[in-house]
Symmetry: D4
Amino acid sequence: VTLADGKDIRLDQDRERRIGIAEAVLCAGKSVDQIARIIDQDTAPRRLFTRLDTSQHAALPEAARARLAYDPLSRTAVLGTLQPPLPPTRIAIVAAGTSDLPVVAEIERTLAFHGQAATPFLDCGVAGLWRLLEQRAAIAAHPVVIAVAGMEGALFSVLGGLVGGLLIAVPASVGYGVAAGGRAALQAGLASCAPGVVVVNIDNGYGAACAALRALHVAALPG
Amino acid sequence: VTLADGKDIRLDQDRERRIGIAEAVLCAGKSVDQIARIIDQDTAPRRLFTRLDTSQHAALPEAARARLAYDPLSRTAVLGTLQPPLPPTRIAIVAAGTSDLPVVAEIERTLAFHGQAATPFLDCGVAGLWRLLEQRAAIAAHPVVIAVAGMEGALFSVLGGLVGGLLIAVPASVGYGVAAGGRAALQAGLASCAPGVVVVNIDNGYGAACAALRALHVAALPG
Amino acid sequence: VTLADGKDIRLDQDRERRIGIAEAVLCAGKSVDQIARIIDQDTAPRRLFTRLDTSQHAALPEAARARLAYDPLSRTAVLGTLQPPLPPTRIAIVAAGTSDLPVVAEIERTLAFHGQAATPFLDCGVAGLWRLLEQRAAIAAHPVVIAVAGMEGALFSVLGGLVGGLLIAVPASVGYGVAAGGRAALQAGLASCAPGVVVVNIDNGYGAACAALRALHVAALPG
Amino acid sequence: VTLADGKDIRLDQDRERRIGIAEAVLCAGKSVDQIARIIDQDTAPRRLFTRLDTSQHAALPEAARARLAYDPLSRTAVLGTLQPPLPPTRIAIVAAGTSDLPVVAEIERTLAFHGQAATPFLDCGVAGLWRLLEQRAAIAAHPVVIAVAGMEGALFSVLGGLVGGLLIAVPASVGYGVAAGGRAALQAGLASCAPGVVVVNIDNGYGAACAALRALHVAALPG
Amino acid sequence: VTLADGKDIRLDQDRERRIGIAEAVLCAGKSVDQIARIIDQDTAPRRLFTRLDTSQHAALPEAARARLAYDPLSRTAVLGTLQPPLPPTRIAIVAAGTSDLPVVAEIERTLAFHGQAATPFLDCGVAGLWRLLEQRAAIAAHPVVIAVAGMEGALFSVLGGLVGGLLIAVPASVGYGVAAGGRAALQAGLASCAPGVVVVNIDNGYGAACAALRALHVAALPG
Amino acid sequence: VTLADGKDIRLDQDRERRIGIAEAVLCAGKSVDQIARIIDQDTAPRRLFTRLDTSQHAALPEAARARLAYDPLSRTAVLGTLQPPLPPTRIAIVAAGTSDLPVVAEIERTLAFHGQAATPFLDCGVAGLWRLLEQRAAIAAHPVVIAVAGMEGALFSVLGGLVGGLLIAVPASVGYGVAAGGRAALQAGLASCAPGVVVVNIDNGYGAACAALRALHVAALPG
Amino acid sequence: VTLADGKDIRLDQDRERRIGIAEAVLCAGKSVDQIARIIDQDTAPRRLFTRLDTSQHAALPEAARARLAYDPLSRTAVLGTLQPPLPPTRIAIVAAGTSDLPVVAEIERTLAFHGQAATPFLDCGVAGLWRLLEQRAAIAAHPVVIAVAGMEGALFSVLGGLVGGLLIAVPASVGYGVAAGGRAALQAGLASCAPGVVVVNIDNGYGAACAALRALHVAALPG
Amino acid sequence: VTLADGKDIRLDQDRERRIGIAEAVLCAGKSVDQIARIIDQDTAPRRLFTRLDTSQHAALPEAARARLAYDPLSRTAVLGTLQPPLPPTRIAIVAAGTSDLPVVAEIERTLAFHGQAATPFLDCGVAGLWRLLEQRAAIAAHPVVIAVAGMEGALFSVLGGLVGGLLIAVPASVGYGVAAGGRAALQAGLASCAPGVVVVNIDNGYGAACAALRALHVAALPG
């Protein structure tokens, strides 16, 4: 399967201009050979790669790997330079437990790639409600809050009643039985009794970060 | 379809002796004629009827209806006498919102039929957490807590981290979209991050009350 | 089921102070009697009622009905006064077809209740893409875009690649077969290939409006 | 992802005081590195680890492994000392078949960690009903009965008609086809025709044990 | 939509010759007009109509209704004569509760149409196991046993361990929540731990009766 | 919800030019008022309305109804003139049973609206295979075959092995239990062991007819 | 987890006497150690083991393996002797394709263990209908027919219209997409338009064979 | 499991004559030994093998492998010769992203096996709509268009409004969370708001190619 120009990759190089977010490359489901070709053919100065697991990364050609800044926890890689984000920090990331850290890290790295810092609030699961309540004011000071939770996802509704900014729920594929794959947490976000909670796909830390970036555009856009 | 003795009903008259809970008659799915025949053929002094909706009740023969103490909110009827339960009150019923009241009422009536009182705590949905927290001590003073919630069912996990007695979650068929039919709340109870939450079927107030009765046997039984 | 003070309703009167959005009353699943009691017991100057269908509204006591400003298309009612929202208009509502109008109307009324105006863009289904493309610039000028679509929900992804502000997808229960109940559109929003699309529950126009209000807080909040 | 104090773990050290059950660490879905850090940072004298599979356990650092009492069948480990529980034995564990033993063992270890003994009744599947009936009196002598079954989970309803104490159903992920993953057994517990059966998540032996502990609080609590 | 010969019905008049069971007319989903045309155009001496509900039956033209022997409980009608079946009775029908009677009646009528008698055993739900056990020998004396149960369908497995003849499970759409529509009972039959239980579609009393007829062919066929 | 020009309907008047099929109006889910406004505002000479049920049709204003040619079996209406289609007949419609006739009629009317005739082959369910086999040659003479079947949808695979033209499967919502809503037939079409069977949504006779029209374009288009 | 007598296995040694079928050991989900202990503790002269995959078998202790007659295609093993079954052959096994052979083999071995022969009819998928039709008479000569099919399972309905004996459908987990795991074929069997088709769980060759054995009891039993 | 003639494979050698498409061998779910036997026993001059993954291919006997032309991307192999297809090219293949290439390749190879060429249009995902729009005329020039997309499958509806030929949607198992396994894309194709889109099973490139071949028969067949 090849195109007339000998390439088989056509990235949406215009996306950043249109919507303020550059196309990222989702590596899950792609072969190592395809990822290497993308690195090779890409003409943009910087690119974010998501869901690049350690075995895919290890199998990349030496030359390709050398051009990537790779982080195994978040499974992200950056082609080109990644500057530490500058203040102010307008985004909080609240997570229910340790198992949610890969998603938290994907959010952090995606935001950092776009120049935004974030404050993490970890181990805030509602079974020990005091952990969340004692940080309530610090969380609510951020205009955008991203919440990450698996299992029953009760964190989304509790937070929704406590903070007034945009609240983005990321269901995590944490749990077993009826929670397997993150479905219960997904439904918890969608069915939340707290008004105005919004939801992204299961484990979609990248999408939650992009939604936060969009929300920050609200302040910047005319209106 | 008739049996040799001309009857077509064989209630489990021995159940109360075996397990301490008499068989109740679930009226949903039964015809008015069948319910009337059960009232007619039953030989026990008292019987609880559940899910008897107002149209079924209204269609019963005059004589049958006269023998029943009917409550439309809980959709329960009692054949024979119903004594007001005496203290002590060892069971709390915590509900998320107004739409959960039919389930709350079914729990109350089932407990009352078996001589147990209960204390209701209403409108404790987690989107307004203060309503639950300000009653936390009063709830936790009951050794058995029954929680009723629809939508995302976050109440179950929040309560599970606050009370040490038996916590029985009753998912309610309250909500729409992914919450329709009570499925999201059911999964929330099962996937709860709080330890030891137990769950009954959607809208099964009768079952939750029976589980509470079983738990009260724990104190009474040898061991 | 009554509480000690003779009331059985405890609205979250503090919510507006905490998160900037007052509690609304979801009428679906409540009896006419319960709704009337809420109207009677409520102590707040203004209240939004959602999912109040025409038969429920018609069955309310005369006095209660007289206090409500009711709109049958959106199935919302306002207790107290509803001022027409003032400019600027920072929210666009893009809908795929005529069947989505009840959801569009619920969004408009919820926003108006909170003082926000919105611009509707109707009949923008992607099967006739020109209808969307010819209004692209006008839509993108709004910092918040709410998209309403049933069936396969392709509108969400197409819009997601065209606008840079916050994009809130509302799946509508429009369609039959695999689209019945809005499930296909819900999945389309969650699985969107466009970055940063966020989703609310099926037919949840109220929730989408609240999320838009939260996003407008982003500009107002410190950060 | 690190917090200000250099730690990334915040266990709910207060939980045992609040509800009588200490937080356990669910190892499924956690990396070996995360588990090792929890062992390292934990300040409590004793801790239960669940779902620690043999490969995770083997990959832990020597020092961490030395501090754990590990049991491969139940996949649990105890940090600190585990005293053999003392009589009386108030909990029966009834299992349908050999494949349910890992769940049975998780229940036993969780109870033992909290000082409670339990009596196992194995291979009580209803296809050979005599095996259950001949032990009926012995089982019913326990005020709390935990039943473990996969496949169609008929055991739950049969037991529910025979014992009067609290009956906790644990669906096991035993079986294939429609039984795969334990869904059929889960539904059997929830839809049981026996009154007052309560259910926990699939394979959730830990949760069933915690529910039994809560039920034993019923006798201890005022009321 | 009409065919060349002016008819629009082509019944499988050859079926009884081929497989020993005549085609029946499933009335659910057919209009009254279509049912009337079938009665009019049918050339066979006898025909069984199933799922003919009382409102459809009442709306049929006088002439058509006069030719049918209608039974409202089973929702079946017979065109032509229906002889009472003669002994021996080789089929037992075991039902869990009163709500299953419409399915039991459909089985009885279908068998009677084909000349086979059946013995009903009612109210044999496993929550009161003694009711089943005291009739065990009488049931097991029939070479074919049809079991009808809704809710969790535990009856199928218990019977499967007690009788040696062919056991046909009919899940009934009895119950609510996870049991709604008969799905839980269906899975119970399929996942049964008892060997060799076979299952038909939910509420398919007609199909279960036909399967019993096929089984009776086993004795009659060469082999 | 109104637009600047006072209209709220924007039909895709350009569609027929682009793809050879005019936009049809799906009436399911639209209010009578909305349908009447569409009839009023539409500027095209002809329009097809689908899923217009008899109660909607009866409730339309007299003037609107007078402009429509309505057919209750197919639930379609035509605004403007409907010419009988001329030969040749290149499309066969094969249906499994009487209950499929509404879908068959929708296909016929949609094709006729676009000038195409079709030949119906009714009552071809595979349980009486001779009915299909005796018409096999007549069916296979049509370059496009549309098959309509509910229940288990076995017709699709059997036909797929017998005809060489395009085979379009339309699952019908005929049946109960696991077949309810047409899901089993849908899966049968998608999972067919016959090569190259294509499928449309459940009950989507309109879509199947449009696909047939697209296929007839194959002969007409260059290539 | 051990019992008082030091054993942890209690097989249903009485089952063959009760229902004519001995308990078999399902090895899926059991550890190698558990299987070895069963072989060691079993007191019966003969035992059938199912779902014993090649890696489990290879890992058994030498002594245990020496006592088993193992067949890798069917994944069955026999402890004790397996006599070749004698005529007459009353059971036909009809399979749709090569991928169904493991299920066919499990049926054959289970029947052989119980002394019954069977005739296989392979590659009878309905996409090439002639293969089935040319063997129709040979198949129909068997009073019991077991059909094995994955994908869309159309074979069940076609056969159901051609043979008059008992027809047992075994859905096979063959296929991908909507057919994955055998769900589509399962629904095809349950929703079959042919009268009296009965179904067992997906891939349950053992269960289908047991059902055939039960059916053969019909001829032998009084009645 | 062997047949009388010592073979166990009966391919449908007559299929090409009947419907113009030869039987292909689906290797997924078949053992290496079975595939080798098919290669050995097949009597046709040419045969297409699909879903032959690299590990299966590598494990085939040397002699068998030597007779196959294998392509790892499409996982197809050809027994016998494969001629490059000749113009004209009447089929376009439009794909949303790089992850869809294996499906694209399976389509290409299946078409080539049957002598048909195809033009690929890659990376046409709707999030960057310009990539699709700039090739719109080139795509629409093909009378048959096959679209491949995973995630939310919005491509199907957008294309459906732009091209007038037959449009075949192939959902791809690309994505995670609610998109996992291709279900969301499948529903998008079926629920499409564009008229006449037809759908095949998830990842079924082979089936889509066969449907295209059937459509090309439309031009060739009488009518």
